[in-house]
């Protein structure tokens, strides 16, 4: 057996989670083709996700390359940092599949649910690869895999004109963005002669000043990543697609694919541009490109434009779309610190963001199921008609704002502290001001829920027990983690091992 092929077979045990995802993807497809029973599909999917979760936990401590080439670097980096985000992606996938069982919006497409779950698994596979990939080509393929699946999912309600419009806009914008990214990758390939991030790192060491070609390349590549995490100015698709797509998919895009994009960005910076780390965990960067300055500007733009645009929205889903843009801005601010502590902020933030954002979307789904609307003015007085929903929504929104004692506060706190520690006070202050602005539109939802009088006579709306339980499962941790979050921090710190320097 030739040497590379031996590497290939040696690496198979490292990609068990990915293999499991592919396996279940095929299983779902075959089951759907043969039995045509929609009922069991979500449970098979959930089973598959749980199995994958176990596989990830089993290989949690690994810290090595899969698919090594003749140089000592490989195409995928299997490390605890990646495992952490794979777990986040899996958790959000599990929650989104539960959403999909509940959502009445998807009822018109119940006979096509086999394809729905297959595509979701395709997305998961793509996101796993985005999280682990350390080769630009693999990264590009992973991004495309996620994109292609999500284009279709965004337009899954194909008889709904809004949903199809969303998918058209998504594919045009996504196609251009990933095309630009590919062009950037091609130039980077021209500079270094390799697509492997770690090899590039050693080749780039001799850049001792910023280089206009690197600036061009990195901005072009960032166009693809920025489009995935909807960072301004690559965010324009976000509000339209989020508003048009089915709520379940909007929720999924806003958490899981954003997480994958963020990891991709971190890995790109960390593996390619860090020459060494100082004792406090700050990264010394190869000066070819001023990542810090770039990220600071992008993060300020992202959080500010996200928040200010959210102020005027009347559609709750669209408002949450802008709010998720703003949150991406906070996370980018933490990355801009370029230190391990910034990463702690990112990781803590993501766990909490998962809880609060998916919670808010769950409430949107529940309300949409009951009153068939996402417009803010139709929410008037709902807080009294559905007390639990009102209370839970309040918790999620307060958490999204970042006010104690909710978990959202903890997330913001760690980002904030990382900024203060790195003496990036201006950015810290801008972030605080942005939080204040965000309070305004989150409270606006609460005002509609509680203070506005509904237009017509209304009655109480009953929820099923399982739904109530589901809401509580998402709402209670938002309070608990706000008060006691040592476990999160522990988990984050043990996961803070990125392959490489």
């Amino acid at each position: 057996m030739s040497q590379p092929l031996a590497y290939f077979f040696d690496s198979l045990y490292l990609i068990k989670p990915e293999t499991s995802i592919i396996g279940f993807l095929v299983l779902i497809l075959l089951y759907d083709l043969i039995f045509k029973k929609e009922k069991w599909l979500p449970y098979i999917s959930l089973f598959g996700l749980v199995v994958t979760l176990f596989l990830i936990i089993e290989q949690y401590g690994y810290n090595k390359f899969a698919f090594q080439s003749s140089t000592n670097f490989g195409m995928m980096a299997i490390d605890p940092f990646g495992a952490f985000f794979k777990i986040i992606i899996l958790l959000s996938s599990i929650i989104v599949i539960l959403f999909s069982i509940l959502s009445k919006e998807l009822d018109v497409a119940r006979d096509r649910m086999g394809e729905y779950y297959t595509l979701i698994f395709g997305m998961i596979l793509g996101m796993f690869l985005m999280v682990s990939a350390s080769d630009l080509i693999l990264i590009y393929i992973a991004v495309e895999l996620v994109s292609l699946s999500s284009f279709v999912l965004a337009g899954f309600l194909k008889n709904d004109s809004r949903s199809s419009e969303a998918s058209l806009k998504y594919i045009i914008f996504g196609g251009v963005s990933s095309g630009i990214m590919l062009f950037g990758i091609s130039i980077l390939y021209g500079i270094t002669g390799t697509t492997n991030l770690y090899e590039m790192n050693s080749l780039l060491q001799n850049f001792d000043s910023t280089n206009i070609l690197m600036i061009l390349t990195m901005i072009l590549i960032f166009a693809g990543i920025g489009y995935k995490i909807s960072a301004v100015p690559f965010h324009f698709w976000t509000p339209d697609v989020y508003e048009g797509a089915p709520v379940t998919i909007t929720a999924y895009l806003s958490v899981a694919s954003k997480a994958a994009g963020i990891v991709l960005l971190i890995r790109l910076i960390k593996s390619t541009f860090v020459s060494q780390k100082d004792t406090f965990g700050y990264w010394e960067m190869i000066p070819a490109f001023d990542w810090q300055g770039f990220l600071i500007i992008i993060s300020i733009l992202t959080m500010t434009i996200g928040n200010f645009s959210a102020l005027w929205q009347s559609n709750v889903k669209r408002m949450l779309a802008y709010s998720s843009i703003a949150h991406a801005g906070y996370i980018l601010a933490a990355i801009a610190v370029l230190s391990d502590q910034g990463l702690v902020g990112v990781m803590v933030y993501f766990i909490i963001y998962l809880l609060m954002n998916l919670g808010a979307f769950l409430i949107v789904i529940v309300i949409k199921n009951k009153i068939n609307s996402e417009e803010l003015e139709d929410y008037d007085g709902l807080g009294y008609r559905m007390p639990l929903v009102g209370v839970a929504f309040t918790i999620f929104l307060i958490s999204l704002t970042g006010i104690p004692p909710t978990a959202g506060f903890i997330g913001k706190l760690y980002v904030f502290i990382a900024l203060v520690d790195a003496k990036m006070l201006v950015l810290a202050v801008i972030m605080l001001l942005n939080s204040v602005v965000s309070l305004y539109y989150y409270v606006r939802i609460l005002k509609h829920l509680y203070l506005n009088k509904p237009k017509a006579e209304t009655t109480d709306i009953e929820l099923s027990f399982s739904l109530k339980l589901f809401i509580l499962v998402l709402a209670v941790p938002n309070i608990i983690f706000g008060l006691y979050f040592a476990p999160i921090l522990e988990f984050v710190k043990t996961s803070l091992i990125i392959l490489g320097i």
Partner: protein, 693 residues
């Protein structure tokens, strides 16, 4: 018991009321009997706190059990520069254990009392849920070992008392009173918050013990003793609000609009005592000047409400003013360094004042919600048990020997006398004794007008009947607790009392010696023994004891005698006195015109500002900010006048600004995907140019 067991029990005591609240409020609509769950929970809490108290005070009297966990630890985030740690936790020491017992006992009795008193109320279950919430928040204040939780539960107590005062919100007076209480407390809390900010920026911790430790090491805010004083005074502002001290006392009399058992629980025994408790908790960090300030506030709050109480005719209002006055007493005692008696009076007063309120509740219940004592009289025969207990409470509050009130009040007066002779602030001493006399007078005036003489309202009198056992048994329990034997074997002094001698020790002040009262600086050089007060002080207090006893007995005896002369034997006509002292009488009857004063100044000023704001709102930014204004109107509905200015102004401004930004941003989001791509290309070009400068 091991530390673990203590913690477990304390946590149960802490969180069970919360469980009671949640269950009762969530299931209240479905199960009409769910209030029994809350009652059961509170009974368990009482039993548990008795168990804690028994083991702690009986066997581990000298230990302080602290269980805490690190809430936010920014050191462990790997950060080299910042280091602060916020810990949350509970402390079980003697004062918190005793307070735990007092709170849970009074709360339990009030729960049982309320079952009978609130019978037939449409929101019966909700009432019990609120009681549970209140008990939970009070437990938080009692158990916390840090300022952060203290502040959070401080606010939570404010919220639950708001809910309870405004329980009958259909009555405008009740919802107004609730708002007034909330606002007055907010003003005090603002001061406290400022104090906390100073504290946290200086010490980077909220844990009370750590703060003390750092002060003892000489770390002062802004490196000056003056700022330490300011910090202490600001923290004390919280107590001014909660304990209804002057000048924020105006809410307490109005709060009598709430159900009477609530008044017994919140406005006599627990919440208002929280302010006093706060001062005892953080006593070591007060400088001499801060303590003097506290003493003066306490003295004024003892005196002025006492003079108001002389002329009031609403049974609950009299008790309310007497509560303010007694709280002033405690605050004054702490201010003059008489820590032990200040805390002791808190305990004894909690029992007999709760008893007085419950007895008043029993009377009101019997008289079908008649509260004016001029329409009562002669109820002694109709309500024998209520009368007997009321009499015991009156004796206790007047400081008649053999009662608990005598022990505590006497100690305070001795301390005041000693304080006067050591520092020359004799006015405080004079106030102390005057208030003792006034208290005896107005309490017996109340007793006689209510229970003696001829019934004034024949109809109501005929229908009056003794309350059921659910109401009388709590009264009897409280009356029993008003006797001396529970606190000391010696009926004349608590100083050698078997209980308090061992249990409560004045904590050593941590402020620099130069900033303390001179008598709180130990004279002897023996440092291995804890010496808190100078020897002169100990000696002076000891010497002051006998004169104080005699003087106070004479004065309260005189007060009682006058009350009997005027109202029982009718030797002197009350109207005649009122006529001859008309200005003074009117001054007292109208509560020193405090409310009017506030109306004319603060409220008028606020209204003026909001008028300007309204004009501004209507003329200038109305178009842009309609949405904003209605949100803030929602806010201001809750928090009234003060907030209107702050929040409205801020939100209006920000809405205006963000409106401008929003218009630009909306222009970009046209819905045409090709426009987005053009923008994308332009942004990429701009970014490239920007970074290749």
């Amino acid at each position: 018991m091991s530390e673990y067991n203590y913690t477990l029990l304390a946590l149960l005591v802490f969180f069970l009321p919360l469980l009671g609240f949640l269950v009762t409020i969530l299931l209240g609509k479905k199960f009409s009997k769910i209030y029994l769950f809350e009652v059961a929970i509170i009974t368990i809490v009482l039993i548990l706190s008795i168990v804690i108290g028994f083991f702690k005070l009986g066997f581990q009297v000298d230990e302080r059990i602290i269980s805490q966990f690190t809430w936010i630890d920014l050191k462990s985030a790997g950060t080299p520069y910042t280091s602060f740690i916020i810990e949350l936790g509970i402390v079980l020491d003697n004062i918190s254990v005793i307070m735990l017992f007092v709170v849970s006992l009074v709360s339990t009795l009030v729960h049982y009392f309320s079952i009978a008193y609130m019978k037939g109320d449409p929101r019966f279950n909700r009432y019990f849920a609120y009681l549970g919430l209140f008990t939970f928040s009070m437990m938080g204040i009692v158990l916390t070992h840090n300022f952060l939780m203290m502040y959070i539960f401080w606010e939570l107590v404010g919220v639950s008392s708001y809910l309870l005062i405004g329980f009958w919100y259909e009555k405008d007076s009740a919802s107004d009173a609730a708002k007034k209480a909330f606002l007055a407390n907010r003003v005090g809390d603002l001061g406290m918050l400022a104090g906390l900010l100073i504290l946290f920026t200086t010490y980077h911790t909220f844990t009370i013990d750590n703060v003390f430790g750092q002060i003892a090491l000489g770390v002062l805010p802004f490196n000056s003793e003056f700022w330490l004083t300011i910090m202490g005074v600001l923290l004390f502002c919280g107590a001014i609000g909660k304990s209804a001290q002057l000048p924020l006392h105006v809410w307490l009399p109005d709060a009598m609009e709430g159900p009477t058992p609530v008044s017994a629980l919140i406005h006599a025994a627990t919440m208002v005592a929280a302010g006093v408790y706060l001062v005892t908790r953080i006593f070591p960090l007060f400088t001499g000047d801060a303590l003097l300030f506290i003493a003066v506030v306490g003295a004024l709050s003892a005196l002025i409400p006492a003079t108001i109480a002389l002329t009031q005719n609403d049974i609950k209002k009299v008790l309310a003013y007497s509560t303010i006055s007694q709280l002033g007493y405690m605050i004054m005692a702490l201010g003059i360094g008489s820590y032990f008696y200040g805390y002791f009076h808190l305990i004894t007063h909690a029992f007999f004042k709760a008893g007085l309120f419950l007895a008043a509740g029993s009377v009101i219940h019997a008289m079908h919600h008649e509260q004016d004592i001029q329409n009562m009289g002669g109820l002694r025969k109709k309500l024998p048990i209520t009368y007997a207990t009321f009499l015991v409470f009156c004796l206790a509050i007047s400081g008649v020997p053999l009662t608990s009130g005598f022990l505590s009040k006497d100690g305070i007066l001795a301390g005041a006398l000693a304080f006067g002779s050591l520092t020359g602030h004799y006015l405080i001493t004079v106030v102390g004794f005057t208030v003792a006399m006034l208290t005896a007078f107005y309490m017996f005036r109340l007793l006689i007008l209510t229970f003696h003489g001829k019934p004034k309202d024949k109809h109501a009198y005929d229908h009056a009947h003794e309350s059921p056992a659910l109401m009388t048994v709590p009264l009897i329990i409280l009356a029993v607790l008003s006797f001396f034997a529970f606190y000391s074997f010696n009926p004349t002094t608590a100083e050698k009392g078997w209980v308090f001698e061992k249990w409560i020790q004045t904590p050593e002040s941590v402020v620099p010696e130069s900033a303390r009262y001179s008598f709180m600086v130990p004279e002897s050089e023996i440092r291995d023994r804890k010496i808190i007060h100078s020897e002169t002080y100990t000696k002076t207090v000891h010497d002051a004891h006998i004169p104080a006893v005699i003087l106070s007995l004479l004065l309260s005896g005189f007060g009682i005698l006058v009350a009997f002369t005027i109202y029982y034997w009718k030797k002197i006509s009350a109207d005649k006195i009122a006529n001859s002292l008309k200005p003074l009488y009117k001054f007292s009857l109208n509560k020193w015109y405090f409310d009017e004063l506030y109306d004319k100044t603060f409220i008028a000023f606020t209204m003026f500002l909001s008028k300007i704001l309204n004009w501004f709102d209507a003329k200038i930014i109305d178009g842009v900010v309609n949405g904003a204004a209605s949100v803030t109107r929602g806010f201001s509905k809750i928090s009234g006048g003060f907030d209107t200015i702050v929040i409205d102004g801020f939100v209006n401004f920000s809405a205006f600004f963000s409106g401008l930004v929003g218009i630009v941003l909306r222009k970009m989001q046209t819905g045409k995907v090709q426009v987005y791509i053009v923008l994308l290309i332009f942004s990429i070009v701009i970014l490239i140019f920007y970074f290749s400068r």
